[in-house]
Symmetry: C2
Subunit: 193 residues, 2 copies
Amino acid sequence: MERKITREGFIETALELFHEKGFKATTMRDIAKALEIEAATLYNYIRSKQQLLDDLVFEIAYQFHDGLSDIYESSYRPSEKLKAIVNLNVRLTTAHPYRVALLVGEWKHLQEDRQKEFLDNRGSYEQMVRNIIAQGMELQELRSMDLEVATYSFLSSIRWLFSWYIEKGGSVNPIELEKQMSDFILKGMQNND
Amino acid sequence: MERKITREGFIETALELFHEKGFKATTMRDIAKALEIEAATLYNYIRSKQQLLDDLVFEIAYQFHDGLSDIYESSYRPSEKLKAIVNLNVRLTTAHPYRVALLVGEWKHLQEDRQKEFLDNRGSYEQMVRNIIAQGMELQELRSMDLEVATYSFLSSIRWLFSWYIEKGGSVNPIELEKQMSDFILKGMQNND
DNA sequence: GTCTATAATTCGATAGAC
DNA sequence: GTCTATCGAATTATAGAC
C-alpha cells in the first residue's frame, strides 16, 4: 500500500508533538510513528530537525513582528494601537496555536546565531509596545503606572493565550475572545480621570 | 587538589543551566563542566537527572500551592486575597527565580504519572484563583468581566515574572516590585462604580 | 568524594534498493 | 516517496580503583 503524506500534514503532526513533549524530547522516530511511516522517510520533507525548528519559529515570529510594525506606524491613538495589538495576537494565536506554542516555548533550541537574531526580533517587538504604552501615558490616555510593569503585564497576558486556547481544544469563539481580551486589558489600563 | 562541591552549589549551577538551555538540552556533562568536575561525580549528589527535576519542580510547586491555600482560607476580602497572591508570587519568584523558571518551563519533562500529579496541583491552584475572582465579582468588589479571561490574564501576569526578573539580573527591588505589581493588577480589576 | 573506563541505549542522519 | 539497514555521535548511568 502506498502512503501519501502531505508536507502540511507532516508539519501539523510535528507541531502537536513538539507542544506535547517539547522539541528536544520529540524524536524523529516519534513523528514518524504518529504518521505511520519510517523515520528515514521524513528526510524527504525536511533537511534536518534543526532546520524545521528554525523555519517554523521564524515564520510565525515575523508574522507577529510585521503585524505589529504596521500598527506601530499607523495613525491610531496609543490606546487604539494597544487594542489592535491584542486583536492581532488573538487572530494569529487562534489561527496557528501550535506555531505560537513553538515560538513561545522552544526558541531556546535555535542555533546560537539564530537565537541571537530571534532575540533581536523579540526585543524590537517589545520596544514598540513599550513606546506605545509610554506615549499613551504622556497623552494621559492611559493611567499613570510603572512602565516596565505595565509593558511586561500586557505582553504576558497576550503571550500565554496559546496555552489557554489549546487547553480549551479550540472551542473558543475567536471573535468573542478578541472582544473580551480587548475589553479586559484595555479597561484596566485606561485613564478614568 | 581536592575539590569540594556543596550540594547547594551544585543545585544552583544546574538550575541556571536548565534555564539557559532547557532541561533536556542540558547534559550531566554540561553541569559537571560548569563545576569543573567529572560527570560521574554528580551521582554522589543525585540519584538521577530525572529525580533531580522531580525534586526541584515539586518542591517549589507545593510552596506556591500551600501559600495560596493559606490565603484562600483566610478571612480577607477577595480583592485583598488577590493582592496577597501577587505578593506571594513576587516573594517566591524573587527568592527563587530559577526554581520558578523550572516550574513554569520544564514540567513537561516529568515522568507521566508525576506529570499528572503536577497538573492536578496546578489545576487546584488555578481553581482557587478563579473562585476568588468570581466571589469578588459577586460582591461587586471587582468590576464585571469575563471570568476565564480575567483569571487567565491574572495568572499570566504573575507567571511570567520570573522571566523578567532573571533578565534584569535581579537588580529589581522586590519590595518595590511587589507594590508596583499589586497596584497595577488590582487597579485594573477593581470596581470603580 | 572524585576519578577513569565503559556499558547500554538512543538519536539524527545517510546510503542505497525498490 | 518509502523502505531496510546501519553509521557515528552523544547521553545517562554504573563499576571499581584511589
